[in-house]
Subunit: 422 residues, 3 copies
């Protein structure tokens, strides 16, 4: 494990303290290798990272492989139907065990010399070694893994922070969406030339939506905020909320976000890295689709399409918008200080058949366009914030409260956690 | 602002002092990140940088955007017809304001959240902020900008060196060329894998011309030097000078460089970073074109094509060769220690119509070929000088006096200026 | 010359001492710039590096140019028929003298200003310099060069280690192959994203052959080892050895490797960086070709195709497998800590005519496939060993004895040699 020296921690602490409250972060947070190392230590190699969906890992042997900055990770469904997460690196000579990003395998057989691991990571065969080799110390390096409501998470930490705060929030609210029995309809991978924090800063406000997201703003209320919510807008939200409440009574659903603007996230405290809420859509929109019409069969336990959108977010790498008929997950993975690998995944009900029950042409554009509009902005911000003439500006209290909250959350992780001796 | 430490200055000074007079620079000057930082501090972020031509910035709102190493800069014509230069970075969240390299705009509106700046850089609109926000401190970071004889310069320094030494030299000599009322006929951008100094070393001698520039040497006398100027050659120069003088008497023009070899540049002292001279062309050459014939209508105040070439150079990033009928500007911008972005621009009289008065096929090859021949050499030099077995060799006193002068000028900037506490 | 500081040597020594015997190397050996610098100093800029074949340098003026990490090197046949090796960098301004990788030249004329060097590296012409310039100090930087049995080697060291240990081993065993009078039939260049040591680790065991080299294992016995050599396998080797011995008696050939597994290499001591042996092929294989049939005319002094394979290896950058009819050389050159440039060259007898006596379709696949199978593995290992969760695993005593020997040899070079003050 690579750690940071006391001097490096001091240097990071000074940078953090130099931030003016209610303003952005300084240039070094977006490109300096030391800061990136600190981000890895205190956040990426410590928190819970979204990996993918349970429905991608249904059968024993199903796996997903990903790379968290320099770290190859594999998550695999075990023979006992439980998930296991491991370093995707052979204990013999260090070869990547599974080089594809997904698949199904019997045992984990290293392609180099066929060291073979059970689905629980234990070494069961290593031809050519001395008979007295103690293989019990040669299991794959194990990471913590959890799943809740069809979402799979891994933590690379030796002593992970509690996951129950996520399960407690996501489980009750998201089970109705039926992600456990969904199917991946499409996946798009992006390489975005921006620090991962810039992607989150962008995600945590809809101040930019009017000018940049012509599709998104037709369906949603987030781009209005406390300072520009007219009585008409609030009345529309109230009406949408009332309408939904009436329909949802039977199924126990409830709108949990009844105002304009985005739900507060992230927040201080041990549960501050996760949030779930249900939000009404604009009248006429049953789904986050180009024209608001339903574009696939109802998912999960929904009996009526008018369920607004379910939104789940977990720091540092996941958000999801789910409509009645489809669900879109976004997964971030850093690759150095100025690049982020982003995967966007569209899910539909497991029984929906492409070409008959839905088409990708109708399913994908809303979030594909919105995502790509965001990535383009993020790359432009990356170029600007690394200028020596950039001084972090003031944030709008009415519209960028979550960006401020993001910086507070981030600096708290960086200085409190990162300061611990390793 | 990033500064260099006292120890770093000492280290740079030692490297500078280790150079043997009349010889080249050591390897570290061409690839070491510390030296590149010093180049930025003492030269690129301090001197006057050529941006483009006034004729590209004619109307209020016309802008040119460029990147000086990591620094995004925008120059824009204001409502008062004066130019303004600014950091091309929004004071809010750091987004690049203008992502295109040229255009015309009303106000500078950030594409992210529409913070809006007047053409003088002052913040005039920032929706969503508290009413009591003091916007007077949120103008765009302003840089110094100057124009003379149709050439536009910017300095990123807080206290720029005097520009009048450039205006005093370029103005009187170059106004006749009419660059103010010219038009860009073509632009070619190059990414050259060589340190910016190597590009200048190449530019400051014509010792390499015989073997590398078959087009250039037909038109010019520079590739002869004091050691190989035969009486016949000198007679040809004298004849060309006399012929030109007779014709130019009416217009007040004068040949100012009447010998073989290149004009001395750069030079010590506060005016040493700029030079202008008029040079005769070989008999039969009215223009720096492939066959010497005029390839476009006369520019500026010229009544006769036989005006030789006007040559303007300013350290660290500009040179221009102007014939009677067209003008070619070369602009350098560093991008890290071993890459230089180079833009070559061809200008003609504003009234000249492509296809009727000139064709790009006749206008461009002379300087396009010559430029590309040079960039190819520069990339080969970059690979060689970074070898650990490279020892800087002796310069030819007769042919490389300007390369020696360049090194003296450079090291003077680096050690005198760079040593100042910041 | 760049050297390492005392503190850096100490740091490297500690890393070396931390290695557990019989196990792999830690992550830092595969990506850390300091370790790469140490590899260059103690191995690449000190040992003997294979350049190419004498038959590529037959006539005075024939040259081969290559780049050893950052160092451009040229080897040229002199007027006296002796080889010379030089830094491929002009002593004047540092230009690369020969930018092609092979060719024939009269003198070495710098393309920039035509400084001209004789084929012995001495400066014979430098137009434009003062007459009293002492050119005797301006010869090209000379490196040591040797050739033996048609193989050409260079050393960048000021005081190279003895080459005679290589000549004494390679000469007597390899002359019969006739590489001196061979001809290059084909060359393929690869850029492999792996540290050079990973390429050698892969080369030094055939433990991976069963699963990865379906072509190679049909022809060879190396993939069997002491732990899995059945009596039948050993009988086949004995039979092949006996058969070969009988046929070779007249020509003085001898099988020198009569067991399964790979010949021990590298080894401690001054001769440990070179090895040569002759190995029987599986019954039915006369050549390392796809079906074992002879694919080109006999080479060298062979009168009978049944000569097994001759194998030559020299650390740090060469191995060769020669059959009766063709010879395949592999040359490694590092390019930074995580990239290796690899050139594979196929040779046939100088009189063999392509299309008549042999076809590339029959000649190349055996080693082209085997090589590319290896490069793919190496890139996967590079990604894994740089993980922070990678801990070097135990090596198989029966199958990976040479990998262990490689690490011992390597660390010995690094710590003993690298510790010397420079």
């Amino acid at each position: 494990m690579t750690g940071l020296s006391h001097e490096q921690h001091q240097s990071i602490r000074q940078l953090a303290e130099a931030r003016v409250s209610g303003h952005g972060l300084g240039s070094r947070f977006y490109g300096d290798p030391l800061l990136h190392q600190a981000d890895l230590e205190s956040i990426w190699f410590r928190g819970w990272l979204f990996v993918g969906h349970s429905c991608q890992l249904q059968e024993p042997g199903d796996y997903l492989a990903l790379q968290v900055d320099t770290e190859p990770v594999i998550v695999i469904r075990g023979d006992d139907e439980q998930l296991g997460a491991f370093s995707n690196v052979c204990r013999h000579r260090g070869t990547i065990l599974c080089s594809k990003s997904a698949g199904r395998i019997g045992r984990l057989v290293c392609p180099y010399h066929q060291w073979t691991y059970d689905r629980d990571g234990s070494l069961v065969s290593c031809r050519g070694m001395d008979d007295d080799l103690d293989t019990s110390n040669l299991s794959l390096h194990r990471f913590a893994v959890e799943e809740t409501a069809g979402l799979v998470y891994v933590s690379l930490a030796e002593s992970p922070i509690p996951f129950d705060v996520a399960a407690n929030q996501i489980g009750p609210a998201a089970t109705v969406q039926g992600l456990q029995r969904a199917r991946v309809a499409a996946t798009v991978d992006y390489q975005v030339e921006a620090n991962w924090k810039i992607v989150w800063e962008n995600n945590r406000e809809c101040f930019h939506c009017n000018a940049n997201h012509p599709q998104y703003i037709l369906a949603n209320f987030d781009h209005y905020n406390s300072d520009d919510t007219s009585p008409e807008i609030q009345a529309a939200i109230d009406e949408a909320t009332r309408r939904s409440h009436q329909r949802w009574t039977d199924s126990g659903l409830a709108v949990t976000h009844t105002s304009t603007g985005m739900a507060s996230f992230p927040a201080p405290g041990p549960a501050g890295w996760v949030t779930v809420n249900r939000t009404p859509l604009v009248d006429g929109y049953l789904s986050e689709s180009m024209d608001g019409r339903q574009v696939a069969p109802l998912m999960g336990d929904y009996a009526d399409p008018d369920v607004g959108t379910l939104r789940i977010r977990t720091m540092p790498n996941f958000w999801n918008h789910s409509s009645c008929d489809h669900s879109v997950s976004t997964r971030l993975l850093p690759e150095g200080p100025n690049r982020t690998q982003i995967q966007v995944t569209w899910l539909v009900d497991a029984t929906a058949r492409e070409g008959q029950d839905y088409s990708l042409e109708e399913l994908m554009p809303f979030w594909q366009l919105t995502s790509e509009q965001d990535w383009s902005i993020c790359e432009s911000v990356q170029r600007g914030v690394t200028s020596r003439y950039y001084t972090p500006g003031p944030l709008s209290p009415a519209k960028e409260y979550n960006v401020d909250a993001l910086f507070n959350w981030y600096l708290d992780q960086l200085t409190t956690v990162g300061a611990d001796p390793k």
